[in-house]
Amino acid sequence: MEAIKAKNIYFSYNTKDVIKNVSFSLEQEEFLGIIGPNGAGKSTILRILCGILRPKTGDIFIFNKDINDIDKKTLAQKIAFVPQETHFALNFPVKDIVLMGRFPYLRAFQREGRKDLEATKHALAYAQVVEFRKRPINSLSSGERQRVVLARALAQEPEILILDEPTSHLDLHHQYAIMELLKKLNTEGMSIIIVNHDLNLASLYCQRLVLMHKGCIFSKGTPQSLINEKTLNDVYKTEVKIIKHPYKNVPQIFFHPKGE
């Protein structure tokens, strides 16, 4: 059984088609990366998969169940979404933000119970933000804030985690920390989809890649089979040099400055 199965998805903003006939699936316990140039439709397809946007046509199945037949709160118990950047209009303390991840499990006026507090505590520890738990969110750096958002997603206790460029504004250390954390979650059974602009990170951490181009799927496959100089030149219009990672059998990409 696939965790997510998307069949013939079309989507358009106003009249412009941004997703054209996209089909793919996420296996259970898989770590899948979606890559592609700016405007390829990566972020849009992520939002469709977690029910934030509705496709114009096409079907989405979450654990074999049509997404339209799943109640929104129930869906949020299965899938958690980490947006690229979150703007915090109200300056909540970190632990309150993470506790909001329990929303899908709570009815109106129901107080958070022991299970909710435990899940929150666990998520804080997992995302390594325990030390910040009492601090107002806007006093944190962007790397720390991103980990808090990840903690909130973990408090949802989802089976599938969907992340939109979680490392895009982070420095080397925080990029590494987030990717390692995702890898750990994945080995413990979480199915993960990540959109990532950093092809080297995607190649290093994802088991399978989906390359999108102009709203369509250009190709799918393992990093070894998908990342090659010809494909990247076709899609990104950029000449690159590819060599094997020193410790792992995956391709890594290098720019080639002109005239050198």
């Binding site: 709160k73 949020a76 703007h87 909540f92 309150d96």
Partner: protein
């Protein structure tokens, strides 16, 4: 939340002050008169601040209040039409004015599609201007009713509760309490929505449905309020901010606090409006006179 203790004490003090202080001698008639002002003051101040807090939460915009969404102006327009036709404020007109403009704003925003809440604010502000112009035309046409419309526009707590309207006013208050409780159910949604619509949708909130519910119910509440006491400005804008400064961002706490603070503020403003000049000022004049400097002071701090 032990911060509620001093806030409630000040609230009780405000009730006491607004009954005791005034130019006239304290007779049982005067007390009765002032008691009905107190009831209306709590009702109006509380609702305006509560709705302001809910709307600011929903739209994630600190400038939103019943006025910026057009429903208060719509209620004033409806009320003015009622005054022109029947010579007196008719709650039904104010109520339908609020709901009508609210609904119109909503439809405009919906047709445009896309992100609902940015467009709602824009449509609301534009409709507010239109309503103000229409009220001006009615004022010019009315002549004799000009004074009454002016009080409707600026707010006035001086309706006397008597045997005739008692049942009606009690009904309005009960209905408002039920509607506010219904809004209060969504305190957690309002916390979450402050982190953006995508986050909220990702956590299982049906944004479209949620916005419609909040918008319609606040319109209803504003209509009820304006029909009784006129369009009192500034309470719905300033009080929720003060409430958040004192009680933090959690709507579970700052919404009830907004209600109490709004009621307190309006009672005190009404007391001032009765003693500051020989003629009684519309209470809305006083709310802005006190509210603006206080607001600037708090924000500079």
């Amino acid at each position: 939340m032990n911060k509620f203790v001093p806030v409630i004490l000040i609230f009780l003090l405000a009730i006491f002050v607004s009954i005791m202080v005034g130019p006239a001698q304290l007779t049982s008639e005067i007390i009765q008169l002032r008691l009905s002002r107190v009831i209306l003051g709590i009702f109006a101040g509380g609702i305006l601040a509560f709705c302001g807090g809910v709307l600011q939460g929903l739209f994630g915009n600190p400038l939103v209040e019943p006025y910026t969404l057009g429903s208060a102006s719509g209620a004033a327009l409806g009320g003015s039409i009622g005054i022109l036709l029947f010579g007196t404020i008719s709650p039904l007109f104010a109520f339908f004015g609020s709901l009508g403009v609210g609904f119109f704003v909503f439809t405009v925003a919906r047709i445009e599609g896309g992100l609902l809440r940015d467009r709602l604010i824009l449509a609301g502000v534009v409709m507010s201007f239109l309503c103000s112009s229409l009220v001006m035309i009615i004022m010019v046409m009315g002549g004799r009713e000009l004074y009454e419309i002016l009080y409707l526009l600026m707010g006035y707590l001086g309706i006397i509760i008597n045997a005739e309207n008692r049942l009606f006013i009690i009904l309005m208050i009960v209905l408002s309490a039920v509607l506010m409780l219904f809004l209060y159910r969504y305190h957690r949604e309002l916390d979450i929505i402050s982190q953006g619509l995508e986050t909220a949708a990702g956590l299982g909130i049906d944004i479209q449905k949620f916005s419609v519910i909040i918008f319609l119910i606040t319109s209803l509440l504003i209509g009820l309020t304006v029909s009784l006491v006129g369009a009192i400005g500034f309470v719905g804008l300033v009080i929720p901010h003060i409430s958040k400064l004192l009680f933090g961002p959690k709507h579970l706490y700052n919404l009830p606090a907004s209600f109490i603070l709004g009621a307190t503020f309006l009672l005190l403003a009404d007391t001032v409006s009765r003693i500051i000049t020989v003629y009684e000022l519309p209470v809305g004049v006083v709310t802005s006179l006190i509210g603006v400097p206080f607001f600037i002071y708090l924000y500079r701090k």
